[in-house]
Symmetry: C2
Subunit: 322 residues, 2 copies
């Protein structure tokens, strides 16, 4: 699994400096220090390559989550595309609110309402059919603020961090509350993270042979919620060993960071704090979650907190050089 012979690794000292979109300072230095500690043979903190597991939240950590989760935009677009076949939706308060772009009523439906919308739009087809729907949507839908494809509103500094860790023998995983089969459609192309290293929430699938063809059909039933206490559970289920570095941005990532950084060995936790209202967004709380308890615990446990405005000289690749 190691890439010790890759050109990137051989570039130590000779090639371009790592993490160019990160400003010099204690935040960037904490990353460099950690990687040096765990990869230097003979160091008391040395970790063998097989155990260099790094886990990344997706929404708000690798790509933009404002003004709402990108997967929610997918849900809304799907509802609108499917509405002509479902005249009965006009009698459902939440469904009708989606079709009328009435976000206030949708939000009032809470998590329960959102889950119902998610299953309506994510179930009732095979896994192959669902992947095709996501593939087509992600190739054309655009972010309202930036007027860019969603696969463009990913954080350039985090892409550099993923590549830097992999060049140092790390295996990188996504551990997100988002849909596992939604993210897998683009994660390899966009993040260089293959499907088998994407962990997320899921609905139940059922194996059946239809007209002689074996298919997996997606059912309108929640299988696993990969958020909060679910994140360490999902990590254990899919990876089976404890990560040594975890990256998140909200209280939904708290338990993942706790699980990763427990013990006395050199472990790394990082939170992205959205502090840049110009280049991106500034918030600690939103309808999408909040950064509160995790921020307090970061101080107590020595987790790194990224001040997006001051620590990143570039947020998105499309900005050009900062």
């Amino acid at each position: 699994m190691m890439t010790l012979t890759s050109p990137t690794t051989l570039a130590f000292g000779a090639g371009p400096a790592p993490l160019p979109s990160w400003n010099e300072g204690p935040t960037k230095q904490s990353i460099l220090n950690f990687v040096r500690e765990v990869t230097t043979a003979g160091s008391p903190q040395f970790v063998i390559p097989e155990e260099r597991i790094a886990v990344f939240d997706n929404d708000g950590t690798l790509w933009c989550e404002m003004p709402f989760y990108i997967q929610l935009a997918f849900v809304f677009d799907r509802m609108k595309a499917m509405a002509p076949q479902h005249p009965e939706w006009k009698d459902n308060l939440i469904y009708a609110a989606v079709l009328a772009n009435d976000m206030k009523t949708v939000a009032a439906g809470g998590l329960k309402g959102l889950l119902e919308l998610a299953t309506v739009t994510h179930a009732g087809m095979t896994t192959d059919e669902f992947a095709k729907i996501v593939e087509d949507w992600i190739a054309s839908a655009r972010h309202a603020k930036f007027n860019r494809l969603y696969t463009d509103v990913i954080y350039q500094p985090m892409l550099e961090l993923l590549a830097y860790l992999r060049a140092n023998g790390f295996k990188t995983f996504i551990v997100s509350g988002g849909g596992i089969e939604f993210m897998r459609v683009f994660a390899e192309k966009v993040y260089g993270i293959p499907p088998e290293q994407v962990i997320g929430s899921s609905i139940v699938t059922k194996f059946e042979v239809v007209d002689g063809v074996p298919v997996l059909t997606r059912l309108p039933e929640l299988n696993f919620m990969d958020d909060n206490v679910g994140k360490p559970v999902g990590i254990n289920m899919h990876i089976g060993r404890r990560p040594i570095a975890a990256f998140g941005n909200s209280d939904g990532d708290l338990q993942m960071l706790q699980w990763t950084t427990a013990g006395t060995a050199s472990r790394f936790g990082l939170l992205v704090h959205h502090t840049d209202p110009v280049r991106e967004f500034a918030y600690e709380a939103s309808s999408m979650g909040k950064l509160d308890v995790a921020l307090t615990e970061a101080a107590a446990r020595g987790w790194t907190v990224v001040d997006m405005k001051n620590d990143w000289n570039r947020v998105f690749a499309f900005e050009g050089n900062g």
Copy 2:
């Protein structure tokens, strides 16, 4: 992920011939032909390395499953070790049968009885504690027929097959009805398959912070049964793309082979048929499952069937050279 620069790969033509424990003949040739087809650049059947996923059943495919599943021996040993703390077990028909080595009564309890025994012995501790229990047991318990450690009763030809596929850019996974956290304790050391590439049945785990320490506690509740129709579901959940080669030995692997080999592209299915009563065991049916429908379907679908007695010149490494 590729190991193109490994010495094994560079040995094409020059080094030792692959699969030395496989006798020359159509069975071995079918494997060599398939690997050549999907790895030869320009071949109409060429598959990019990222999609070279191979899945292996464990019990009866990679290691011995007779006279009963090895994990069942673990369950019985654990019951006996735990019995002094559980005087009430003598009043439970199945529990008492285990303690009295009365396999007939245990078997009469069916799958339900076995699942109950499994949860009693597999739950009620943290994931770290369970791993330690398995680690200690597997280091000392012995197979009754061979008087060998269980990690010695693995099939040498299948070890060679795993290595041969990996040397050709394949990523190898275990997909077993056995316990995921049971197998992960030894799979990397024994098969060269890391924990994140082991898929199996599981019980529910719960994240909690106990005395300031985050732990995952194993609960006496089934989470996922990775057998029969569960195998394609587990593959999709953990890998997220369809394998191109699948290896099994019983009807429990039927759906995994169907899912893997569907379509018109070059795909490979293989069943190990236990035909050697001297070096191992000969059976199509046992209390552990049967090879019936899958064997019929193998003929119809062109899956390779290994005749263990005639296709393998060596079953276990401890036999010495065949």
